[in-house]
Symmetry: C2
Subunit: 257 residues, 2 copies
Amino acid sequence: MMKEKPFLLLSNDDGFAAKGIQELIKVLRPMADLMVVAPSGPRSGASGSITSEHPLRCKKIESAPGFSLYSCTGTPVDCVKLALHDLVPRTPDMVIGGINHGDNSSVNVHYSGTMGVVIEGCLKKIPSVGFSLCNHAEDADFTPTFPYIQRIVEEVLQHGLPVGTCLNVNFPDVKDLKGVRICRQTDGVWTNEFVKSVHPRGGNYYWLTGSYRNDEPEAQDTDHWALDHGYVAITPTQIDVTAYTLMEQLNHWNWQL
Amino acid sequence: MMKEKPFLLLSNDDGFAAKGIQELIKVLRPMADLMVVAPSGPRSGASGSITSEHPLRCKKIESAPGFSLYSCTGTPVDCVKLALHDLVPRTPDMVIGGINHGDNSSVNVHYSGTMGVVIEGCLKKIPSVGFSLCNHAEDADFTPTFPYIQRIVEEVLQHGLPVGTCLNVNFPDVKDLKGVRICRQTDGVWTNEFVKSVHPRGGNYYWLTGSYRNDEPEAQDTDHWALDHGYVAITPTQIDVTAYTLMEQLNHWNWQL
């Protein structure tokens, strides 16, 4: 009997038409059945946001045996929720976000719509992985990432991931990738985050921008170090954000009213 | 010499006009100088999202000695970023989110715009705390939370918080709070997340909703247990989301291409 193909749910934050997700589809289609439920347009920086003030709409764009693609008016997380609630024929074997146009390592994990997708998959207890390339360009070259993406998906399908954990995979924008490094999240800060201009009718307006500062450039176990040195950075990520080390300390503060 | 009053930056995700933040202002104004930079309207479920596709605008609504209030077109995180970049006279002693109309315990931390505020403050290495009441109503009664909020802010001002950690404080919606419990994040899942309806011109539309399922109702060290039993739940939270326990394991997978 032929083994059933794995079934993967894909989304992103750059929108269904972005090159990154279209390339991801090409890479994964030979090895799996795919359902793509992605935002109708760019949702960069959407983080884990959800839409509660407006209704969502969702449109089937493409459909073929073992493949379907939907465009959804909501956020990346909305896409995953809606797919799991109403569109999938069965629980996906994996939820995959990306390939993102831009770096989601270090503190960027907190702003990333791609990682929003992945964390949502993880919250639903499905093995989930996000792929991001450190290049924001619309026509970025994703080719060098393909063999790594295939391997990472194969490995996750084979081993699974412990419930509550997922993977944040970032690729440096280089042709010759040096291999994989398992990393921790780099400590860094965004600075100079706005450009201020004067509105034609008076008052200011602001564009969000900024420079990233790595606060531990020497630490070789970080995702940012790996990327700076040409490695694929795999940062295992968890959804339990409790600061356990702080619990004991807080129990000694004065809470008695 | 008179000691300088602490300086607190406040924001939320329900908008500057919401009762929750207006009540928070009342509670904190006697003990600190305040700058409030909050969204112009509701941004519930904004998580850590940022606005990169549109410019932001920001308007001063109110100003008095030791007090100012701005309305901002962006997300909760945008508000904190903009305040720190362009509005504050000095680095705030604390960043405070809330009081949120609704529960931000358990997995809700990942969707919460209030916790977006707090995590952003934390990413900027400022002691940060989020306050949320388990009641979504616009006219919810926040009064029972006031003495606890004062005490928690006093304690954080006195002790500080380790860099990279912040507090997620949730209040049950009861008159007689039983005291404080230091908790961990509950493992739970949202289910039945959409109501589907038919659009007047055909096709479906979806409203996000859902039921929360606690996956460890017996665990007495969780924030959800504390809330269920009438306690103020303080969940220390961290911005490093690395799944350290998974790193060793992943190093044994087959990454060789």
